[in-house]
Symmetry: D2
Subunit: 230 residues, 4 copies
């Protein structure tokens, strides 16, 4: 079985440490706690799910951009694989999952995009276009790896409510071996990209991109809770 483990001292490990206290604010957000103990109001989850549909579309575009930005066939194929997984698999799952929550595909297509979703997705796409493949992957990593970290912790946490928790399917999807492999593989890929594109002078700017993206993840969870009072 796949385990979520990030190598100590790896680039991802350093970026994550450098993004504190935002990383903890993201991975231990009240929204996340509510997923674990099942106390999250359904309206918050429903708003999150809807916006996540738009989010996934732009993330698929970001991986397409990564293919465009790649120098080698191997890099192209790696990003094309994630893009296909998003377009074919994850968005399909999402549509099915939304249907179970009473949100139709037509609803999804007609959504107004929340500014929190705009901020995050467009920041990733813009950083990725302005910079190189490493900048793009640094902007994507808090989401891709962080979801694995969150779900792996929840599934291992004895306080997580596993019976009668409407959010267990979410926790199981992102703690499943397929997703954990993607998360861990993404963290490992960043070390490889660092060797090829990194240098110490640009480290602060890379940290800034990672930290901003982490803050925007905090905003994305908060968007779910804010929907309750909107």
């Amino acid at each position: 079985m796949s385990a979520y483990t990030i190598k100590a001292g790896s680039l991802f490990d350093r970026l994550r440490a450098g993004a504190e206290p935002h990383w903890s604010a993201y991975t231990r957000h009240a929204f996340v706690a509510g997923l674990g103990d099942g106390s999250l109001p359904e309206a918050a989850f429903r708003h999150y799910l809807q916006q996540d549909f738009i989010f996934l579309k732009h993330f698929a575009r970001a991986y397409a951009l990564a293919v465009y930005k790649s120098d080698t066939l191997e890099d192209m194929r790696a990003s094309a694989g994630v893009m296909d997984a998003l377009l074919d698999h994850e968005m399909g799952l999402h549509i099915k999952y939304c249907a179970e929550w009473g949100i139709s595909e037509a609803d999804l297509e007609a959504l107004d995009e929340d500014p929190a979703c705009m901020a995050y997705t467009r920041y990733v796409l813009e950083r990725g276009m302005a910079g190189d493949l490493l900048d793009l992957k640094a902007a994507l990593a808090p989401c891709v790896v962080g979801y694995g970290e969150i779900a792996a912790r929840l599934v291992a946490d004895p306080d997580t409510k596993t019976q009668g928790n409407p959010y267990m399917p979410w926790i199981e999807m992102y703690s499943g071996s397929e997703y954990i492999d993607l998360a861990v593989g993404t963290a490992e890929e960043m070390d490889a990209l660092w060797r090829r594109y990194g240098n110490d002078v640009r480290a602060p700017r890379l940290q800034q991109t990672f930290t901003e993206a982490t803050r925007l993840e905090v905003g994305f969870w908060q968007m779910g809770l804010d929907a309750l009072t909107a």
Copy 2:
């Protein structure tokens, strides 16, 4: 003297009407009312000013992108002119203006970017990169033209406090003939771009871009007020 007049039935006029009620929410925001009667708390204006510095930098990048996207020398020169005005003139004014408000250039460079600023600037840059020159200018227009509209209305409004209003320099700058010429010229340019790139099928998507950008302007004003309670 230059007057702020938008031709009835012009593309800008139609987009503005189509963006209601967001257009009114933007141009008649409480932040704007506070500029007019001088009641806006200084802390709100200071936060706005700081973020506007980051905003202008990305707007200069957006006009650089417009040069890249141009098909003709005339288009290139038009966008290069605005880009230069932003980089040389407006950012210089901004730095000077911030200094009067006790914000040093070093403060400006060290700022954390507000998510409301990120959302707007990155949306503009991303729409502009993904689409054509018309998409880019439609995303820029609510800001460029709207500021002229706001300032022109305030300066003509008998209720505007002209004596002892710390925000009169802001109102005067954006209602001045130099800025109004830019605003009106930008609205006119959109008709020319529509003739060259527009078609009725893409009108809804153009409206969406304009409306989203307008909503993000509402968020930018609100960001100033929210700073008071943060």
Copy 3:
């Protein structure tokens, strides 16, 4: 069985007519005639095959760019499908095909890119980035549709040498129903894109893009012949 048929009066049909005499220079180039009667010197074909490997890599990037540029999930999936076909299927076929011609994968990776290949691939990528999805597809179409047209004509031509012609596998691949479906589908997609993005004022510029790409295809065949005297 799939037939290569372009609807009279369709956008592709009009662009093709407007690209004359370059379209005929491309589709009836001496290189093409040499494929049909088997008289093409093998060194010319080998140089073409090698450069076509680089070409396909950049074409896969161009379809990734099309995913980034898409407004709808349907558009994203259509371009993702071609991108995958290029990366997974066509480049694999190409590597296998090159091996039969004594060109190893290591040889392919170590190639110097011919200026004719650079000109075409970079022109497509740049037009696609600067313009919208219609500009990008107009730059891609002479290749994607034209290869189907060439191969369909050769396979139907009684003068084509079908026995002992080392180029029959090439002719069969591009006249096969899978490829013809792609070519015809690409031409049809252009009408749909025209309805969504086209207008009469931009028609001359679209024609220019299509015609330039056609001229660059002529240059790509010529590159193969020029290799004989280099």
Copy 4:
């Protein structure tokens, strides 16, 4: 007086050495020799001048792209300055210069672009979009710095025909202190960019970009000579 001097061991110096024998083929091309001794047929120069007009337009777009790609205001202003010099000054000079050679501005606008011009300009724009600011400047450098090197050598060469040589204005423009300052400053800027973005693993790819751009410069001179036999 400004002198063309490249610091030994600088990045530009290393890239130039690594681009041999193409660098010598470019800077000592028969076209260049013909400029020096005045023997270049006028038709060759005229074709070059016309294509150079298109070239400058795309180079201005490349510097606009550099503004978009910049992380700091200082970088933005540096590239904006070159962009303005190209759009306002150099293209104006070019139009005037072309007029002296009997080429009107209308002729310039109606030109068909030579594949050699396409290959070079689109390669620069594509490398710059796919990579970072260092990649973009590495693609621009062979032109910007190389023209200074060529003109400085010609003006210092006792064999250069200074009286009655129709090409002396060209030599004087590019060996003038204003241009030499730009060329030397561009080489120096590359060292600064290397410190910020470079690393040893990416050095071969940067060399490849510089070398390809140098080969495309050879093609641009050759294009002038080939016009004689076209």
